[in-house]
C-alpha cells in the first residue's frame, strides 16, 4: 500500500456518497467544457484564414437591410468574383413551425454556393418561376415535400400586399449537399427575391439583409473585408464584413451577451458544486476524527494529515473533472458533426487547461477547510471524543 492507495481507500469508504459526488463533479465539468467551448467560439477574434466567401451586413445589425444598389460597387472590388444576397423571410410552416427561409437571386446563389447540388433544370425552373421555392433535402424529407407541390408558407414578418400572411409557393427543386458536412446544411428554403421584393407589404424595395461575396483569392479575404467596410464608411449604410463562420456566430450572438450568460451559468454550477463536494469532504472528515487522531498518534505529522484530506479532494475533483471534460469533448465533437462543422465545439487546449486549473482550485476550495480542521486536531481531545 502506498499513501495514494490509502487516499483512494478512504475516498471509497462510503461508496454511494462518493459515486454521487463524483457524478455531480462530472456533470459540472461536462457543462464547464461545453459552455467554455461556446464561450471560446464567441469570444474569439475574427479569423480570415481560408475564407472563400465574405458576408457583408449592416454595421448596426443584421436586421437593418442594405440597399441592393451596393451590389455593383461590391462586384467592382478587385478580388471579388461574384456577389449574391439574401433576405430573411421569417417563414412558418403550418401552424407554428419556423423555417430557415431566405429570399435570394437564384442564379447568383447558384454561382456562389456550388456546395449545394441540384439538377440544372431545377435551377432554371427556380430562376423562371416567380412563386418558385427550392428546399434543402433535409427539410423536404422532414415535411414530405415533393417537387411540383404547392407549399403554403406564412411569414411572421412580411405579409403580402393584400395583408395576408399566407404565401403560396411552388416547390420547383430540392437541393442536396455535395458532401456530408453540406448535406447537414440542407435545412434551408429559398424563394425568389424579385417576387419577395414586389409582393411584400412593407415595400422594402431594393433592400436585402446581407450580401455574400465570392472571392477570387482567399488570401485577400481580410484586405477585401477592410476595403468593403472603408468603402461605405460614413455613409447611411455602413457595413460589417466578416467570414461566414463569424457571421453565423454573430447571428447567434443576437440572443444576448453569450459570454456573460456562460459565465453566470458556470458560476451557478461551480457554486453548487462547491457546496456539494465541500459538504461531502467536511462530512467525511467529521466522521473519522478518531481515525485522523490515530494517524497522528502513529506519527503522521499535522501537514501529512492535511495533505491526506487535500489529496482526497483533489482525487475526487480530478477524476470527476477529467471524465466531465472528456464527455464534453465527445459531446462537442457530436455537435460539430451534427452542424456540419458550423459550430466547432471541440475542446481546444485552452479549455482543457482552464479545466485543469478549475480542478485544482476546486480541490483546494473544498478540501482546505476540512483539511485545516484535521490538521488542528489535538490527539488527546480527538481520541477522548471531544
Amino acid at each position: 500500500m502506498s499513501k495514494s492507495g490509502f487516499v483512494i481507500a478512504n475516498l471509497f469508504r462510503k461508496r454511494t456518497r462518493t459515486i454521487l459526488t463524483l457524478l455531480s463533479v462530472i456533470m459540472a465539468f461536462l457543462l464547464f467544457g461545453l459552455l467554455q467551448s461556446v464561450n471560446t467560439i464567441f469570444s474569439a477574434g475574427a479569423s480570415f484564414v481560408g475564407a472563400t466567401r465574405l458576408i457583408v451586413q449592416a454595421r448596426v445589425s443584421f436586421t437593418s437591410p442594405l440597399p441592393l444598389s451596393m451590389l455593383p460597387k461590391l462586384e467592382a472590388i478587385p478580388g471579388v468574383a461574384r456577389v449574391a444576397y439574401s433576405q430573411w423571410f421569417g417563414g412558418v410552416w403550418q401552424e407554428n413551425t419556423p423555417l430557415i427561409m431566405f429570399s435570394i437571386d437564384p442564379l447568383r446563389h447558384h454561382d456562389i454556393y456550388p456546395e449545394y447540388v441540384m439538377p440544372e433544370a431545377q435551377w432554371q425552373a427556380f430562376a423562371n418561376t416567380r412563386t418558385g421555392i427550392i428546399a434543402g433535402k433535409m427539410v423536404a424529407e422532414q415535411y414530405g415535400w415533393k417537387v411540383g407541390q404547392k407549399i403554403p408558407i406564412s411569414s411572421n414578418i412580411f405579409p403580402q400586399k393584400n395583408g395576408s400572411k399566407a404565401w403560396a409557393f411552388d416547390l420547383v427543386g430540392i437541393f442536396d449537399g455535395k458532401d456530408e458536412n453540406w448535406k447537414k446544411r440542407t435545412t434551408i428554403v429559398y424563394m425568389q427575391h424579385d417576387y419577395f421584393d414586389e409582393a411584400n407589404q412593407f415595400g422594402m424595395k431594393g433592400r436585402t439583409n446581407f450580401f455574400v461575396l465570392k472571392l477570387a483569392d482567399s488570401s485577400r479575404a481580410e484586405a477585401i473585408s477592410r476595403t468593403v467596410d472603408a468603402m461605405f464608411e460614413n455613409s447611411p449604410d455602413e457595413t460589417k464584413t466578416q467570414t461566414e463562420k463569424d457571421f453565423n456566430i454573430s447571428f447567434v450572438k443576437q440572443i444576448g451577451d453569450i459570454g456573460l450568460i456562460v459565465r453566470w451559468i458556470l458560476f451557478a454550477v461551480f457554486f453548487t458544486l462547491l457546496l456539494v463536494v465541500g459538504n461531502t469532504m467536511a462530512q467525511s472528515v467529521r466522521e473519522r476524527i478518531p481515525e485522523l487522531a490515530v494517524l497522528k498518534t502513529l506519527g503522521f505529522s499535522d501537514g501529512s494529515v492535511l495533505g491526506f484530506v487535500l489529496a482526497e479532494a483533489f482525487a475526487l475533483c480530478l477524476v470527476g473533472g477529467l471524465i466531465g471534460l472528456f464527455l464534453a469533448s465527445l459531446a462537442g465533437a457530436m455537435v460539430e458533426r451534427g452542424t456540419g462543422g458550423q459550430f466547432q465545439l471541440h475542446l481546444v487546449g485552452s479549455v482543457w487547461l482552464l479545466g485543469v486549473v478549475a480542478i485544482v482550485l476546486m480541490s483546494v476550495a473544498v478540501g482546505l477547510l476540512p483539511g485545516l480542521r484535521a490538521r488542528r486536531l489535538r490527539i488527546v481531545d480527538a481520541l477522548a471524543g471531544h
Binding site: M1, S2, K3, F6, A9, N10, F12, R13, P290, E291, V294, L295, K296, T297, L298, G299, F300, S301, D302, G303, I379, V380, L383
Partner: protein, 230 residues
C-alpha cells in the same frame, strides 16, 4: 541499576475547561526501567490516561520533565514529537482504532509508510508482526470481519511493526471478554518477556494488572504506591 526507559520528573498537567483550570497531575515523579511491564491503576479522573499520554508523547506537560529512551520529549515541537512517536513508541487503544477501510495487513503497514522501507520490505515486516500476534491467516480481512480479540491483535501488530521499544496501552482489554482479555494480556506478557518490550498499560481491571510486573496506583494526580504484581 537497570537502564531507565521512562523518567518523569515533577510533572504537572493542567487542563483548561472553559474558564476552569483543572490540575490533573501534581508534580509527579516516575521511573520505568527498560524491559518493565507496568500497570497504571486508579479511579476515573485520577490522571492515568493523562500520564500515559505524556509518556507516549501524545500530549505535553504543563511543567516538569518527561524523558523517554533518553530523549526529553517534553521539549519537542509538534512535528518533532510526531517523528519521535513514529520511531519510538507503539500504541494500543481500548477500541482498537483500526482503519475500517483497510485490511488487517494494510492497517499494520500504516506506520511503515513513514519509513523509507521498500514495499517488499514493508510486506515482510507486516507478515512478521501478524505472525507474532497469531493472525497471519487473517491478513486479508477487514476489521469488520474480525472479532474484538482479533482486532486488538491487529492493533498490537500495528504497534509492533516499526519495532519500538515502548508500548503504551490504554485499557487494551476494556472492550473484551475475560478469556479474550487474558489472551491479549498473555500476548503482551510474551512481548515483554521474550521480545524485551517495555510496556505501560492503563487498566481498571485488577486481573489485567496482574499480568504486569509492577502495578502503580494513581489517585488525584499522584502516585500512591508501587505494588508488585502476582
Amino acid at each position: 541499576m537497570p537502564e531507565s526507559m521512562v523518567e518523569v520528573r515533577k510533572v504537572t498537567k493542567v487542563y483548561q475547561r472553559g474558564k476552569q483550570k483543572i490540575e490533573v497531575l501534581h508534580g509527579l515523579d516516575l521511573d520505568i526501567p527498560k524491559g518493565d511491564f507496568v500497570a497504571l491503576m486508579g479511579p476515573s479522573g485520577s490522571g492515568k490516561t493523562t500520564l500515559l499520554n505524556l509518556i507516549g508523547g501524545l500530549d505535553q506537560p504543563t511543567s516538569g520533565e518527561v524523558r523517554v529512551g533518553g530523549s526529553r520529549i517534553d521539549q519537542l515541537s509538534s512535528g518533532e514529537l510526531a517523528r519521535w512517536r513514529a520511531h519510538n513508541v507503539g500504541f494500543v487503544f481500548q477500541f482498537y482504532n483500526l482503519m475500517p477501510v483497510l485490511t488487517a495487513e494494510r492497517n499494520v503497514e500504516l506506520p511503515l509508510l513513514l519509513t523509507k522501507l521498500s514495499s517488499a520490505q514493508r510486506r515482510k515486516n507486516v507478515a512478521v508482526a501478524l505472525e507474532v500476534v497469531g493472525l497471519a491467516d487473517r491478513a486479508k480481512h477487514k476489521p469488520r470481519e474480525l472479532s474484538g480479540g482479533q482486532e486488538q491483535r491487529v492493533a498490537i501488530a500495528r504497534a509492533l511493526v516499526s519495532d519500538p521499544q515502548l508500548l503504551v496501552c490504554d485499557e487494551p482489554t476494556g472492550d473484551l471478554d475475560r478469556k479474550t482479555a487474558d489472551e491479549i494480556l498473555g500476548l503482551l506478557q510474551v512481548l515483554n518477556r521474550e521480545h524485551g518490550k517495555t510496556i505501560v498499560i492503563v487498566t481498571h481491571d485488577p486481573k489485567a494488572a496482574e499480568f504486569a510486573r509492577r502495578i502503580l496506583h494513581l489517585e488525584k494526580g499522584q502516585l500512591l504506591e508501587q505494588a508488585r504484581a502476582a
